[in-house]
């Protein structure tokens, strides 16, 4: 049998078209109409032939997704020079955006003919399930901006946007206003500084603004749904297979008051270049607050719902970014630039409207969550019970006891990050490299935890013998001098035997005590190094029509220095979402060596 017969394909057809009409009735006035259509279809099929693991008698799924988006902008622009030094412009615009998607698919199991055609008819009706869904969303907005410039050194822009969307709740305000403005002063153009040789460029800038994110579609009413009753870690019962089929009220509470979430941002900074642009420095400080954050808020199930999608949260970010660059060498054919960059971001979930905690990623025992009063992504897990004095509560056998209620245990967010790089050039040969450092933050090593459970971690691969008799977690006694597999531990009431019963209990992954496996996520990484050479010559150009040939040898992610062993603390089981800091059999970022040949025609 061909091992390549397992096939998962995705065929995308895309059609993008846009047209623009510009009318310029006067020198100072332009009217632009821009319309665009973006249409695509994605045909996905998954084919698992007979004898595939988990689909022993075959499985064939097919999904057809299509998306149609229409966007229209009508923009009027006017410019005016008020005086020789003062000029201004004004924009008035209207935007209309419509999105329609459809998704139709089928899933089949248990082929009638093992090698039959890839067709939904190759299964009995009870092994066929269909799915279909539609989405229709509409947004429109009017906007206006006014910009002024004085003497090419002082700039002010003010913008306002009024937006309405179909996804707003029927009892919410109909339209929302988003103002923004920015201001910049290029002060090296001051007469006094124009002659200063040491300063080549200087700019002060500040901006503030509000941007909005509209709610998801169809969240404004409580629906009735066909529900399959899922059984814990087991299977499921589907009412569609009983009686005449059923619809019941959903666990998601509809919200007629939905409004957009808004992010209020403020930023100020300074950009400086000195000594004929040899030395550059910039610093920015920012602060933003997301208010009315759209969150699927957990409800008390006893109240009749599990979730309520609403404008619930307030999340705050504050940070500083510093960039420093220096051109060390620029002589003959040599150039050398070095640069350094440092960033720090502080994040805090200031309000979740009593939502308790919201899962962003992880598992039942250890998760990354949004919790009021903590940074976004806070690690949440069970801990060992402690008494009022903060000492672990030990049981009669000298082992700690698990508190069944989960609490925040660690912060996966780094304190600061920095990067250092250089770029060295000699004629057409170049060498550049980048080193990165992330300071602080914590990570839960779930891989190690579950290996302890399975007894395959190196840390339990020992036979120990104690000179005194030891209690096991299970309560049995290992007599002095009797060898046992595991370790000898001490939780404060004398030595105990950490054997299988400990590691398959609270000492391992399924014991759910995340604080056991919390590690410092600080790392320093050699992110990349590139060595290259560009060849260009008349010969290449005339005989081969090549403007240049580039050869490059690169190494990426070459080494990492961190306090953890066996994994990359920057990896993450939740992928690219907001959930951070949980490792559980995650593929580590790869180390790679590349050779690149570039032919430029």
């Amino acid at each position: 049998m061909n091992i390549n017969s397992l096939q998962n394909t995705s065929r995308v057809n895309r059609f993008i078209n846009s047209a623009e009409i510009n009318i310029k009735p006067a020198q100072w006035f332009t009217l632009t109409t821009r319309a665009g259509v973006d249409f695509f279809t994605d045909q996905q099929t998954n084919y698992f032939p007979y004898f595939t693991a988990n689909a022993n008698t075959g499985r064939y799924d097919r999904d057809e997704y299509s998306e149609f988006q229409f966007n229209l902008d009508v923009i009027a622009r006017a410019t005016h020079d008020f005086t020789e030094k003062l000029d201004g412009n004004m924009v008035l615009g209207f935007n209309y955006n419509s999105l329609k998607t459809t998704n139709i698919g089928g899933q089949t199991l248990n082929f009638i003919l093992p090698n039959g055609p890839r067709d939904f008819n190759n299964v009995t009706p009870s092994n066929f399930a269909a799915s279909d869904s539609y989405l229709n969303r509409l947004t429109n907005a009017g906007y206006s901006s006014i910009g002024m410039a004085w003497d090419n050194q002082f700039f002010v822009n003010v913008t306002g946007r009024l937006e309405a969307a179909s996804t707003f709740g029927q009892l919410a305000k109909k339209a929302f206003f988003y103002p923004s403005s920015d201001i910049a002063w290029q002060f090296n153009k001051l007469e006094k500084l124009q002659s200063a040789k040491w300063l080549s460029f200087g700019k002060l800038r500040a901006s503030m603004g509000i941007v909005g994110v509209q709610p998801q579609a169809y969240q404004t009413a409580t629906n009735y749904v066909t529900r399959t009753w899922v059984d814990g870690l087991g299977g499921a019962l589907d009412p569609a297979l009983y009686g005449t089929g059923s619809y019941i009220q959903s666990v998601n509470k509809g919200n007629p008051f939905l409004r957009p979430e808004r992010k209020q941002e403020m930023e100020a900074g300074i950009d400086l270049r000195f000594l004929n642009n040899k030395l550059s420095f910039s610093i920015s400080a920012y602060s933003n607050e997301t208010v009315d954050a759209l969150i699927s808020v957990t409800q008390s199930p006893a109240s009749g719902y599990n979730t309520f999608y609403t404008n619930a949260g307030t999340i705050e970010n504050k940070g500083v970014e510093i960039d420093l660059g220096y051109n060390v060498l620029a002589k003959n054919d040599w150039t050398l630039d070095v640069n350094l960059n440092w960033t720090r971001n502080k994040n805090l979930v200031t309000n979740l409207s009593g939502a308790g905690s919201i899962t962003l990623g992880g598992s039942a025992g250890v998760s990354s969550r949004a919790v009021e009063g903590y940074p976004l992504g806070i690690l949440y897990s069970n801990v060992f019970q402690k008494d009022a004095a903060g000492k672990r509560v030990l049981n009669a056998n000298g082992f700690p006891t698990v508190d069944p209620t989960a609490v925040p245990i660690g912060d996966p967010n780094a304190d600061w990050r920095a990067a250092f790089g250089f770029n060295l050039k000699y004629k057409k040969l170049y060498l550049n490299a980048l080193l990165e450092h992330s300071q602080g933050g914590q990570v839960i090593n779930g891989t190690e935890a579950v290996l302890l459970d399975y007894g395959t971690s190196a840390t339990v691969g020992f036979e120990r013998t104690s000179t005194t008799s030891l209690k096991t977690y299970k309560g049995t006694t290992i007599a002095a001098g009797t060898p046992f597999r595991g370790n000898i531990g001490n939780f404060g009431a004398g030595d105990v035997a950490l054997d299988q019963s400990w590691y398959t209990g609270p000492g391992g992954w399924f014991g759910n005590v995340g604080e056991n496996f919390l590690e410092d996520a600080t790392w320093t990484r050699f992110r990349e190094i590139n060595l290259g050479y560009n060849i260009s010559s008349n010969f290449l150009k005339q005989k081969l029509g090549l403007s240049s040939i580039g050869l490059e040898l690169s190494g990426r992610n070459l080494f990492i220095i961190s306090k953890v062993s066996g994994y990359d603390p920057d990896a993450n089981v939740s992928g690219s979402g907001s959930g951070r800091g949980v490792i559980y059999f995650v593929n580590p970022p790869t180390k790679s060596f590349l050779f690149t040949l570039k032919l430029n025609f």
Partner: protein
Amino acid sequence: MKKYIYGLFIVALLVTSCNKLVEGINTDPNNPLDADPNSMLTSIMVGNMNIQEGDLARFAGMWSGYFRGYTQQYQSYHQYSVIARNFDQAWESIYSGVYKNIKVLKQKALVVNNKRMIGVAQVIEANLLGTTTALWGDIPYREASNDQIQSPAFDAQTAVYASIQNLLDSAIINLNSSAFVSFTAQDIHFGGNMTKWIQTANTLKARYYMHTRDYQKALVAAQVGISTQANNFMAPHYETNRSAFNLYFQFLSLDRRNWIDATGMFGVNILNPTKAGNRSNSKTVERARWSYFYNSASNLNFTVNGFFGQNTYFPLATYAENLLILAEADARLNGFAAGLSRLNNYRAYMNTGAYINSTYLISGNFKYEPYVAADFLAGGIENAGTSIAQDRALLREILEERYITMIGQIEGFNDLRRTFKESDIKVKVPLNFGTSFPQRFIYPQVEIDINKSIPTVLPSLFDVTPINK
């Protein structure tokens, strides 16, 4: 400046047209906003089956000596190591899933004067919340699933049991009503047969009176309870489709192979005819029943004929349970002779093969001859070893019979906790771990996180629920 004023005017114009464009297109094209009561009924029934037969029953079974959690999470659970979050999903299914929809259904059925459907919904509700309060003690009830209340209060366990009895009384009145709109096709338990529903309501009344040790009322209710095996309240399963299979089968055979077995567990050992100390005697042969529940010393029987098999109906309330309620209540209230006669009724039923799959009913593999008074006297076959009083010996045998009959059911765990203090007669299931026996399930994390009415001191797994104090 004029042109700017014109500009502002245009903006104002656009804004007013803005809202009109987006109105009325946010109605979900994928899900309806309402459904009629007949269309809701089946899902409620299946949801209740999921609770009685799913992971709560597996937790209960592991802690009742019926089976062993062998690997992964279940190894931890087996050692009584559970966290609040392990109970989130079941709790959500109970409240925001089934109970909320029962409330909605009852209101809708009332609008069309479908009294009988209200009665059926009330029986399901009693079964659902009876199990919930038995496992968790104080639970939200009066204020649960009320749109106006975000943090429903936890009602005292005794009050919940009292409400459930009232609910079942009301159910019986409604089930007897002549006002109804047919729901035969949607009633997956009894196809609209009111006699069977009324008997089920009475058996459930008897069950919950047993929980609260109100044996007199239990005896009265059981006398009009399920009168024959054909009227058993069962969760139906079919082999047509995976999501209609028995949930134990799905877990044991499809989803979590080898996570649970029976090796060394008390339940399998006392049935196993080859094991020393098993419960067979000169009048009792348990080989057929042993084969039906466990097909070896170490496995649960999830073959097609077994109790945990693919399309084996799962018991929710049965004739067998009803007979054993009569036996225990009568023995406790009216003494030895009354109890013995009731137990012998049950044994007579067992001797016909009862609920055991016919594949295992091979002559010689099952025998349940009537006991006589002497069997329970010191030195008799049911009172060997350190002897106890005759009537206590009888109760001991009735409790053990209940324990065996309820293999795989949450009721087995409820019985062990109810009789926990009666150390002379209780079924002596050894601890899996440590020095304490689990006395309840712990409140789920999601309720702890959100519900401001949750008890401030959270009871631990080993804290006895109020009715068992």
